[in-house]
């Protein structure tokens, strides 16, 4: 795993965007792009350009996830970053709680400067066995999609679709909040 690791390059970062189609289909856009010139801030958030167009149709869709629930108290906390990168602080932004067919989903995005360094599940459906099974897989996969995958050997997984709508919506709302 250490023999090749292109994504360790600091110039790579994730982009998230998000549109809705087919009734209630969300699109998460993840890119690993060389930051040739533009600032990471622009790069990390520009993928969400499609969001305004998408928001209305997300709400009108037929799935249980639908539009975002009323926003809970936004939580934006900042702290000094450890180590040498004193200029870019670490902060975490909590996204909206999204109701999905399996229950509420809410995430917290941890950022160092403008780079996403972690995505933490704050709320996940936890009632029955099936939900737990779903989440034990969905969360690590989706978390990995959002993160700069520094060690992932697997790029993606076939045969997995669950609470991802809610997850993506919560991540997006956190990014919107971080930008604003």
């Amino acid at each position: 795993m250490s023999d090749h690791n292109p994504s360790r390059s600091p110039s790579r970062r994730a982009q998230l965007g998000f549109v809705a189609i087919l009734g209630a289909v969300a699109v998460v856009v993840t890119a690993k792009a060389e930051s040739g010139g533009a600032s990471p801030a622009h790069s990390a958030l520009s993928g969400s350009a499609a969001t305004p167009e998408a928001a209305p149709s997300a709400g009108s869709g037929g799935s249980g996830s639908g539009s975002a629930a009323a926003s809970p108290t936004p939580s934006v906390s900042s702290g000094a970053s450890s180590g040498s990168t004193a200029s870019s602080g670490v902060r975490s932004v909590t996204g909206d709680t999204i109701d999905t067919r399996y229950g509420p989903v809410q995430v917290r995005v941890v950022m160092r400067g403008t780079k996403i360094t972690d995505v933490v599940a704050v709320q996940l459906p936890s009632a029955r066995g099936r939900d737990l099974e779903i989440n034990s897989f969905a969360v690590p996969e989706l978390r990995q999609e959002v993160l700069d995958d520094q060690s992932a050997q697997i790029d993606t997984v076939s045969g997995a679709s669950f609470t991802s709508d809610g997850y993506a919506q919560s991540v997006q709302s956190a990014l919107d909040r971080a930008r604003g």
């Binding site: 090749h4 087919l22 890119a31 690590p140 790029d155 993606t156």
Partner: protein, 258 residues
């Protein structure tokens, strides 16, 4: 239908070009939605179902999807049947997700982002490479243990579709019997386009105990397949493009494998 499509672009692009590529892919998905959504009264599918218009009056993509649906029905001996739940009214939406993902992939390539993965709720269209000189690596989820994989597919220009009943219980019905398909936990089909890969995986799951005969026949056309039986046994086509676990629930825990 509610699902999620994620797009992962690895082609090094400046942000403005990357944004244009994303927008082109999103446009392709929006177009598919406007044309095929059964949730929209004004979509072509809805208007055709109400017999307000005929198929022949539809635009080229509509005719293409209906033709593909019919081809898939014939090719699978009826195991994939676009009309099975619509009381005689054609409902091609089982095919549309894969078709829309293929169109998004085309749009990305045309927009200068040929290295990408379009993930339509677990059905994938990959192109190019994950990094310079490296093929994409796609895990196939273990339908019996969602924390594990049963295979890792490697490739540069492939579609990988998995139909399983683990996550959407009984969502596939054998159109020939009208009963939920139960003999198999999941069917994965790998090939050149997601439209047909998705239809064939659905057909394989619906065919249950007859799936292997169908899949062996499809393999003659170059499609690769992998089946996990309800009891955990894993079978796959010769030359399946990747590594396969001996049986479901025995593979190492995601994501450290292999």
């Amino acid at each position: 239908m509610g699902t999620i499509v994620s797009i992962d672009v690895r082609t090094p692009l400046r942000p403005e070009r990357l944004e244009r590529a994303f927008a082109a892919a999103a446009d392709a998905l929006h177009d598919a939605d406007a044309t095929f959504s059964t949730y929209r009264a004004d979509s072509w599918v809805s208007r055709i179902a109400r017999r307000e218009v005929t198929l022949a009056q539809g635009p080229a993509p509509v005719q293409e999807v209906y033709a593909l649906a019919e081809q898939c029905r014939v090719r699978t001996g009826g195991a994939f049947d676009p009309a099975w739940r619509a009381d005689g009214t054609l409902d091609p939406t089982g095919l549309v997700k894969g078709w829309a993902a293929d169109r998004a992939s085309d749009a990305l390539t045309a927009a200068g982002a040929p290295d990408h993965c379009v993930n339509a709720a677990g059905d994938l269209r990959i192109r190019g490479s994950r990094a310079v000189g490296q093929p994409w690596r796609v895990g196939v989820a273990d339908p019996l243990d969602a924390t594990r994989l049963v295979a890792v597919v490697e490739g540069r220009d492939l579609a990988v579709a998995t139909s399983g009943r683990a996550y959407q219980a009984d969502h596939v019905v054998d159109p020939r019997s009208g009963r939920p398909a139960v003999a198999l936990a999941s069917v994965t089909v790998v090939g050149p386009d997601l439209t047909r890969a998705d239809a064939y995986a659905t057909a394989g799951l619906a065919a249950g105990r007859d799936a292997e005969a169908l899949l062996v026949d499809l393999a003659r056309d170059g499609w690769s397949w992998l089946v996990v039986a309800a009891g955990g046994a894993v079978r796959h086509s010769p030359g399946f493009p990747g590594r396969v676990a001996a049986a479901a629930t025995t593979g190492p825990t995601w994501p450290t494998w292999p």
